[in-house]
Amino acid sequence: MTTSEPGELLARRLAELVSAHPAVSRLDAGPWNAVATWIPGRRLVGVRVPDEPAAPVEVAVVLGLDRPLPEVVRELRAAIATLTPRPVDLTVADVDAPPQRARPAATAAVEIGP
């Protein structure tokens, strides 16, 4: 009952698949920490497969900022579609800011002279 449960198996495989994508920094629990699956031993964060077969699967990710998000979302949806025919609610919960681009204002402060 535990390991062979289809929803749980799908959740595991979704988590593996999604976090393997190069643009995905990590999975995230979503806005209210609601996107998660409890499996024996741990809590699988970022994937939720509702019991109702018609309800959409929920996936929440943190993406990198080096590519436009819609592009990445399209790729993720295409990848997920190979695993399940169910609709997918995809949440971009956060982005990882590239550290080198967040600082230029600080260095430019010195250069603008009187």
Binding site: L69, P70, T91, A105, I112
Partner: protein, 172 residues
């Protein structure tokens, strides 16, 4: 209906697609391809970060945030875990809808930069970045210039405040 769970009361799901169309039909304004395959949600903090980074990329922007939010930002950066990226979102407020976003910025400019030109450059860069990165249409970017940073006051001594000249009101 728009936020989290579509109604689980869909009996006798014949195929996944028809059930999905029924499941999210209540949320207005979804993109057409989203209704069949599920929703895509971009969190407000994502838009906030992108807008903050884009604004800082303009070199006449010294820092962001009003006095209060700058103070909170400095505190937040010292809280472990709570402050990751807090410097990116100081001075940025956003409203994110299904397809559109509005951005409000509080910035501190460098002395010597033309504030009107600077505001225009900031606005253009923020719109480009947010629209390109998120696919959301940016309907407005309101910029409030809270302060001006003089080259000689290194330790953030308050310079004479400049009224928020280039900030367009919503009822222009």
């Amino acid at each position: 209906m728009t936020s989290s769970t579509p109604s689980p009361t869909i009996p006798a799901a014949s195929t996944a697609t028809t059930a999905a169309a029924g499941g999210v039909a209540g949320s207005p304004g979804r993109l057409a391809e989203d209704t069949a395959q599920g929703r895509t949600t971009i969190a407000a903090s994502v838009v906030q970060k992108i807008a903050g980074i884009a604004a800082r990329e303009i070199s006449g922007v010294h820092s962001m945030g009003g006095g209060v939010s700058r103070a909170f930002g400095a505190i937040r950066e010292r809280i472990p875990g709570g402050g990751a990226g807090a410097s990116n979102i100081a001075g940025v407020q956003v409203e994110v809808g299904e397809k559109q976003a509005a951005v409000d910025l509080d910035i501190v400019v460098e002395y010597g930069a033309s504030i009107v030109d600077l505001a225009r450059a900031v606005r253009r860069n923020v719109i480009t970045a947010v629209e390109r990165m998120t696919g959301l249409e940016v309907i407005e970017v309101n910029i409030a210039v809270n302060d001006i940073h003089l080259p000689d006051d290194d330790d953030d001594v308050d310079a004479p405040a400049v009224p928020a000249t280039p900030a367009p009101s919503r009822v222009e």
